[in-house]
Amino acid sequence: MKTYWVAYQIALQETLQRRSTLIMDRLGGFAVVVSLYSFWTALIGDKATFLGYTRAEMLTYVLALNILRSFVFTGRGWQLVGEISSGRISSYLIRPLSYHGYALALDLAQKTIHVAAAALEVGLLVLCVRGELFLPQDPATWVLFGVAALLSSLLFFFLEFMISSLAFWTSESGGPLFCFELFLQFAAGAFFPLDVLPAALRRALEATPFPYMVYFPVRIFLEKVPPLEGMRMLSMEALWLAAAYAAATTVWKRGMRSYAAEGG
């Protein structure tokens, strides 16, 4: 456990050390949030609601999006792809540590800093647009939201890990990973609430694990999901997570075997 704690701390320092990269990352994400917020505001216009979202709820959706993006979408997939294709991965494999645990520790460090930065940005935005925010009163909502976000984050981590593990077989796994991440962001509701989509398309997406990553936690936060339904979806998400974990570790093990067979 101590090893992972040390890895976490080192990764924290490293992220802070590369300050321009950090600032640039944040600025970029911030721009996306501002444009999404503006577009939705223009959509609502002077109507009371749009697609069942009030103005306050819409703003909250976008702000929660900023935090969730920082918390959920910060995997280690690209690093894994890089380390497999350069062969650096071997140096981890001979050490007495779990690569997944190690990557998770690094990822956690990244999340810590980015969530802190995202919270800061959200605070700033709230000051700028004044009031008009939807804050759930029921503490249970906060707990549910927290649990959902945690599961989402792990779900993303393992899904991304699974796709990145393709690098064991081909040096070109960057393409599929890129494609996967783009698709995922849309399907998860990270650009717009899925309510906007035609009912058939939305139902199709709801049968996949993706909406659980952003759309679902935000709706819990906005108290748009009845408690019972919430619990049911939470267990669905847990099931998806278990499946993703199993798939990721299986692919990983097979990949390792073929990697070892080819002698790296």
């Binding site: 590369r18 321009s20 990269t21 640039m24 990352d25 600025l27 970029g28 994400g29 721009a31 996306v32 501002v34 444009s35 503006s38 577009f39 505001t41 223009a42 959509l43 216009g45 749009f50 697609l51 081909t170 040096s171 070109e172 796994s173 960057g174 393409g175 599929p176 990973l177 890129f178 494609c179 996967f180 991440e181 783009l182 698709f183 849309f186 650009f191 717009f192 906007v196 989509l197 035609p198 398309l201």
Partner: protein, 264 residues
């Protein structure tokens, strides 16, 4: 002068052909990237279409007009990506020492750093964009030739301004080897140009027109086509590019003079 152009033309054709060859060796990877780009395009278009199922206008623009903004954004953005693709590898070019070779060879290092390769994936992706833009154009009311002329002029102007930013990014890569890639912030901020500027709050709109002139690059042409851009703004846009290009070039020169080359 003519000989110089012919020389750079030859180099450009050569590197482009080489880039195509290299890309063809990465079939799976290229396919992934291509599919990802198509997905992004499709989702955004579907999203816009879906939005207009629920509203008549956004910030005073109809569906066709909003689509015009979106397609024009894509045209300009992709043209820039096709031409200036290699900036995306600027950091790697510097870190792996390729830039050292650029500097000792009798060919402008800026040229090689910013526009010596063509991304053929984007050449493939721009085809549906052109087709879709044609469809949008067909649905527009008849417009005077000055509108089309202004549209074309401002598009070229926009690409020029984007080139100035790419020079800046390349210079940053030479100057601080720490910067992960400044290009990604540009990508994220450009995101804001997908929507007509009128959706933004006045302060943001002002920032996007004068501060980081995304509006000048992406939404001015469409606005001019619709006859909603005053002559004053057209002059401003042209003047901005005329100033930005030499300024960024000076910054580039200063950065190269301070270049330290990574130790081998």
């Amino acid at each position: 002068m003519k000989a110089l152009l012919a020389k750079y033309g030859r180099i450009w054709l050569r590197t482009s052909a080489m880039a195509l060859q290299a890309q063809l060796t990465y079939r799976l990877g290229s396919f992934g990237f291509l599919l990802g780009k198509m997905i992004r395009l499709f989702f955004f278009f579907a999203f816009m279409a879906a939005v207009f199922q629920h509203v008549e206008t956004v910030a005073g623009y109809s569906l066709v007009e909003t689509a015009l903004f979106f397609m024009t954004f894509n045209l300009i953005d992709m043209t820039a990506q096709i031409l200036f693709r290699c900036v995306y590898g600027a950091r790697r070019t510097v870190n792996e020492g390729d830039f050292d070779f650029y500097l000792v060879q009798p060919c402008s290092p800026l040229f090689r750093m910013t526009c010596s390769t063509v991304d053929f994936l984007d050449v493939v992706t721009i085809i549906p964009v052109i087709v879709m833009t044609g469809m949008v154009f067909a649905r527009l009311p008849p417009l005077g030739w000055e509108n089309y002329a202004a549209y074309g002029l401002l598009m070229v102007n926009g690409v020029g301004l984007i080139y100035a930013i790419h020079i800046l990014v390349a210079a940053l890569a030479v100057r601080t080897q720490e910067l992960e890639s400044a290009i990604w912030i540009y990508r994220d901020v450009m995101f804001m140009g997908k929507f007509p500027m009128d959706v933004y709050a006045p302060a943001v709109r002002w920032a996007l027109t004068v501060g980081i002139p995304i509006a000048v690059m992406t939404t001015f042409p469409a606005k001019a086509l619709l006859g909603r851009l005053s002559a004053g703004w057209v002059v401003y846009a042209l003047a901005l590019t005329a100033a930005a290009l030499p300024l960024s070039w000076m910054f580039w020169r200063a950065s190269v003079a301070r270049y330290t080359s990574s130790s081998s």
